[in-house]
Symmetry: C2
Subunit: 477 residues, 2 copies
């Protein structure tokens, strides 16, 4: 197995980052534009000034003590429970893409039908551990609902799609208090009252860099914490725009943002599972665009994991990230730089493990399939090499000797179906066969694969009462 995580920061670097962010939290503070949140801080003796909250090192470190180092998100199929923080990375699909990119037409608006397709694929793909949420933002859902947020229709249908098409754990909505409540209610239908006793979903809370949180995110954060359901607290500091241009400063600023948010979860409900998260990166200085395929992103991923480990917190970062607009070679190598670094760094929870393109703006069916294959590759890679007398194979090598062949040795034959990682989409047909055939590229192969997976999909069994109640909840709201 991988014995050393990729390490870029020295112990002294970590100490400097920590100390400087403590100074920032104490002197500059963080903006929490929600009276309830400020009241929670005030009630526990934190210095506040309007919506600005100030933190002493003692207060922050005290709050971190109750964060679990490890927790399990339960699935409706117990075989698919996932544990966060046990050293193995958990992979979840891309999140929040406003567009789709198709091979033939390029950019297009996602529909609710796409969402159903993607939920089914998330269920089918062997290396996605969660069924995701908000993989794309469907644009064709009728807006009229009983709730003030016009996105209620979207949200409920997406949650419902993940719950019925898959028995993997689902991600929850963090679109304000209402998104969180809908999630908890639907989770209660699915799991019963035990929802209050164990994690069954996870929400994504983003800070509002620099040094704040939005009202909507705070409301969701507090609701998740009240239900003791896990949240990722994540920063997306853009170096040179919403944070300093230097990566050390980005790490320091995001550390202040994250620890402030994590502290709030523990004040509301000590022991709430919470993940230290980041996808901070640079902006491209020529175009001003976010650069998520950059080497700087991967450096921030590795350093973020080191900071999380320093605090003993589970970590979320990275993924199969790219600025390319189609699943081409650039998408391939940028995504692998991000994903391999994520896994090499000991990141526990990997959102955007598959499917994203265009600096988070687009989802691609083909890339979903290709990235899932990458997830399988890096999983195999991480397991490493077993060194035993059996695998060292001294007797076999000595017997075969110079110039011989191992192909027909029992040691080979016995292992020939199981020893190596087997690709599904990657092409190993060889140059001659490829040239003689249709000269398919990875996109063509991936396209065939998702169409096949979709055609073969069957919803996993769900008892009729639960199914009816879920359906009714969606219809009513």
């Amino acid at each position: 197995m991988l014995r050393n995580w990729s390490v870029f920061l020295s112990p002294n670097d970590i100490e400097e980052i920590h100390n400087t962010s403590m100074k920032l939290l104490a002197n500059g503070g963080v903006e929490f534009p929600d009276d309830e949140a400020v009241a929670v801080f005030k009630g526990r003796g934190f210095k506040t000034d309007g919506h600005r909250v100030y933190f002493s090192e003692e207060q922050v470190m005290g709050a971190l003590e109750t964060v679990p180092a490890q927790f399990t998100i339960h699935a409706r199929n117990p075989d698919k429970d996932v544990t966060v923080g046990d050293g193995e990375p958990v992979f979840a699909p891309a999140f929040g893409a406003p567009f789709l990119v198709d091979p033939d037409v390029g950019k297009r608006a996602p529909t609710m039908e796409d969402y159903h397709n993607l939920a089914k694929l998330a269920h089918a793909l062997p290396n996605q551990d969660l069924s995701g949420h908000l993989m794309v933002e469907p644009g064709d859902v009728p807006a009229g609902t009983a709730y003030p947020s016009t996105s209620s229709g979207h949200r409920l249908r997406m949650l419902h799609a993940s719950m019925v098409h898959s028995d993997k754990p689902f991600m929850g909505s963090a679109e304000g208090k209402i998104g969180a409540r809908h999630t908890m209610k639907m989770a209660t239908i699915l799991f019963g009252e035990e929802v209050r006793e164990r994690p069954v979903t996870i929400g994504l809370i983003n800070s509002l860099s620099p040094l704040g949180y939005s009202r909507e995110m705070l409301a969701a954060l507090m609701e998740y914490a009240r239900w003791r359901q896990p949240v990722i607290i994540a920063a997306l500091v853009m170096a040179g725009s919403t944070g300093p241009i230097t990566l050390a400063g980005v790490l320091m600023q995001q550390n202040a943002e994250l620890l402030a948010g994590i502290t709030l979860t523990q004040l509301i409900s000590a022991g709430t599972p919470v993940i230290y998260g980041s996808t901070s990166t640079n902006i491209d200085m020529k175009t001003g665009a976010l650069a998520i395929g950059s080497p700087e992103l991967s450096l921030v991923v590795a350093a973020t994991a080191q900071m999380a480990h320093h605090y003993g917190l589970p970590c979320r970062s990275g993924g199969a990230l790219t600025d390319a607009n189609s699943p081409d070679a650039q998408a391939g190598f940028e995504s692998m730089l991000g994903l391999l670094t994520t896994v090499n760094s000991g990141v526990d929870f990997v959102l955007h493990a598959a499917g994203i393109l265009s600096s988070y703006l687009a989802f691609s069916y083909e890339k979903f399939v290709l990235d899932d294959e990458m997830c399988g590759m890096v999983r195999r890679f991480r397991r490493g090499i077993a060194v035993t007398p059996e695998t060292l194979a001294y007797d076999i090598i000595a017997k075969v000797g110079p110039g011989g062949s191992f192909l027909m040795e029992p040691h080979t034959v016995k292992r020939c179906r199981s020893e190596f990682w087997q690709p599904v989409v990657c092409n190993r047909e060889g140059l001659e066969a490829w040239q003689a055939g249709e000269r398919q590229d990875a996109v063509a192969r991936a396209h065939q694969r998702w169409q096949k997976l979709l055609a073969e999909h069957e919803d996993p069994p769900l008892d009729a009462t639960t199914a009816r109640q879920l359906q009714a909840f969606v219809a009513e709201h």
Copy 2:
């Protein structure tokens, strides 16, 4: 900077691999089908039996003592000298591809014109440190030469192309004694008699797995060692075919092969620079084809580097390797898995850093350009994050405060052109612009780039006498 290399083997694993290969060298031996080589071993007290040579641990470890941990390959432009073993990876182009793959026609036979083009591109590409050798095997060179090997024409023209189109260090030929001698003679024209005093090229010697060397390679090895010019001794054990199916056994077998070859270099000329090399990997058990984009290859790369470090030897392994037949997403992510692992593992010399496709069977102009960009990315990645009061930027963050922007801060403006890695081929134009434009993919962009580089190429200055002598040597042989 990267502080921890990727580590998969425990100290005990390394010890087991070492001990088992010592046992294999002592009891099974290695085949050296060359009377001169056997005579060298015999003369130094090694046990031999026909062409079989047996090694004691003491003999092997004694020979390793004289291998330099670090050496410099001199270029005809001293600014382009490269040092092997100083912790920075040295990148060299792909090697030995019998075919080219073009975007429009797929597979085709390379011509000598292609070779000139590739030598010019190797010169132009910013992250290739050597101009390479045998990047492709041109098929259109008239065979008639004064030498028995019909490939003399190829070889001389290729060496000549690298010498005149580039002032980076060139790789030498290891096609038998004659290939090595041609290399040394042409190097002598270029550098004068100092060739005998310092490294000016490097040759690639492959073992013949399992547990042997070919006559041709042995002759080249001995010639390089007599001239004290550096060689890579490399194994390409195919797990399940020319080696055991288990990776630990592959590492153990290749260790025996490599140490035997390295020992010979030092017996011939103690102090000859030599690199411990491997591109061993698995075969695909469905097709029997070599799998160089596999996670197994990357594991062998990382473990090979650990073994080389254990012996204090410079290491060659990995590269931008793929089994894909065109520069598609698969080529991108497989190549990055290999290249990033190579760099993360502390490999010193990276052959195939750019250009290869199809399990070593094809070279691609477009992939050459794309992989060079990847080399730049992983170089930047490796440098890591500077943590200083200046980069932590406390004052700036405190001043900007919650909700502010860093875009116009002097701290940002001052660094905005230099702080981040800048892509040349990678697309960061954004989804809207891409959709509105020609929707180019990475191959289209890379195609434009190499055509531009080629159009702009000028041979670096070379004095007229040397140029004439080189030309005459090629014409005469």
